[in-house]
Symmetry: C2
Subunit: 107 residues, 2 copies
Amino acid sequence: MQRFGQVIGIRAEHVEEYIRLHADVWAGVLKKIAECNIRNYSIYRYGDLLFAYMEYHGDDFEGDMAAMAADETTQKWWELCMPMQKPVEDRAEGEWWKTIDEVFHTD
Amino acid sequence: MQRFGQVIGIRAEHVEEYIRLHADVWAGVLKKIAECNIRNYSIYRYGDLLFAYMEYHGDDFEGDMAAMAADETTQKWWELCMPMQKPVEDRAEGEWWKTIDEVFHTD
């Protein structure tokens, strides 16, 4: 299993809408997340930053992420979410959410 | 089970030492974390911010946190860590790490 921490900005004027939307995520989006072997996925907010924590239980992360990106329902969800988000400047090439380094873990 | 997200600042001049220290946390500190019913505890770093994710599996969070704070080894560990940390201004009264709101979760 691989754990991931990620960060992205949230535009102040969209915080309330983002929270409302994520309190009731579409069933098709949740289904695809599960099909793509993501488990125990949480997003937290600190001011204008969102932090994500998730666990990947598959054995082909790139393939699963490509399958998620190809899913029509997920694409429609992202069309809603992406304009509310503001990716951080120092993310890696090709990233939307920036992957951040684990400093500590204990089971 | 309760999930927690937390955030705290890290002083730029102490980032390397903090990372080094947390790559090899004292056994007594880890033991106390487990005894206090904390599981699946991770800390990630984004620049001068640390983001923590943890799961609490007990039924007396305040009591367990008090037991942790009373533990001599944990106190010595905190004496090392706290000067490297810079709590965020908008934390709640009595907080060191600021508890942040969950926006989304899926199992």
